[in-house]
Symmetry: C2
Subunit: 276 residues, 2 copies
Amino acid sequence: MSGADVDSMLFEGERRIDAIAPADRGLAYGDGLFETMRAFRGELHWWDRHWARLRGGARVLGIELPTQAIVRDSLCALLDGRDGVCKLLVTRGSGARGYAPSAGPAFWSLSRHDAPEPREHVQLRWCSTRLAIQPALAGIKHCNRLEQVLARAEWTPGETADEGLMLDIDGAVVSAVAGNVFLLDRDRWLTPAIDRCGVRGVCRGWAAQQLDAYETRITPATLMGADAVFVCNAVRGILEVERLGDRSWTPHPQVAGLRQRLAADHPAFAAPPEMP
Amino acid sequence: MSGADVDSMLFEGERRIDAIAPADRGLAYGDGLFETMRAFRGELHWWDRHWARLRGGARVLGIELPTQAIVRDSLCALLDGRDGVCKLLVTRGSGARGYAPSAGPAFWSLSRHDAPEPREHVQLRWCSTRLAIQPALAGIKHCNRLEQVLARAEWTPGETADEGLMLDIDGAVVSAVAGNVFLLDRDRWLTPAIDRCGVRGVCRGWAAQQLDAYETRITPATLMGADAVFVCNAVRGILEVERLGDRSWTPHPQVAGLRQRLAADHPAFAAPPEMP
């Protein structure tokens, strides 16, 4: 068995399986949900947060999740004491042709990936791909992600921006392509409300609590006028923005302080930062 | 091998494969396209129309399609002279974790399904799930279909409507859940413009040509005041609407005439209608 095979597992309901059904509804319609989680020495410190979001998404889509303990035990077996990034994908399972949801057991898969190099700062760019306004799907981490794929395809060869910011169709700032965004606006932390589009990130939830952040509509002008900006997700943690277009920011002590609190709360983020 | 196995084939690039990669981007993000086509005695009479739409979608998503002749020959082999419905699914293939599009060969699958019972009339309902406005993805038959899944999940047990009509977020009529809609408004055929959301159906394209239909924004009131309404798709053909909410319509000779032209153009739709 190759290394790639060892690092993923497939299930239907509570039964381990060998192959993905050609009629899987995740493949057909993106009819599923996913979580990407940071592991440290075989442990998932934010498991409860990830499972809670997954459960919220499953409620919206009407997907019956497998038993939590089986998923977690399987993840621990896959990790086998290692660090890294775990991805959990859950789809509605396979069904007949047509959009009507089927009632069979969910398909789910687990995979382990190497953790990205730790870093503290990023350069952003604006994406021209907009996020559609769809309150029925806002917040959950579902598998309809073509907007993010199109946004990530905007990078030209050699372009050095690490991440991109996305606006909704109405021009409000929503998030990074794969993370949420926070900004310091006259001593108050703001983050875009995720009620019309975007993903309610697990790290966003943690940071919003820590900073007592205010959720609101944010214009590009407010963001460009902020005293500090960071993007965050549960894989990379807190990434302070040092440049966006022709605006640059110097490191802000409040972001450094938040990063320290994150390192205390989740040991995967306590790793030393990159060397200069 | 079971009948279900015989009726599907999997490919990567131009090579037949046995299993779907766990890291397939169709499964992860709905990063793919599909076509459902009506076959008659092993032939796909609207193949050129389906392939043209698929090619348009592939251009939007930046997916490199397999060679047309190989796909068509494989479909003919799968059909082996039979009637039915063929589904062609093409995804970007498998890739590393993350939204950035990978450059590997596309994954594609073929499956054959039994054709639905022929019928001429349907009862509709309004769906409360709205279609988000996303011009970047409008028209193409991509695999981000959670809105259609949520709409189809609205049916309560025992509810007899055959299809549902969907509005966009702004309240304009867009389409049926799995088909397009046409209406006769004072001697002129109208169909919703598919420039902000919805799928540019293959049967829609055929019918719009036949009827010299005008593409525009259509309100629910205009639809309810129409002299005739039909929904259509490439699997079921022309389905005249006989009821929607408290409005009913009697069969209209122009719809019967269009159905006759369809039967002449595509022999799969020349089958006798259901018995009363």
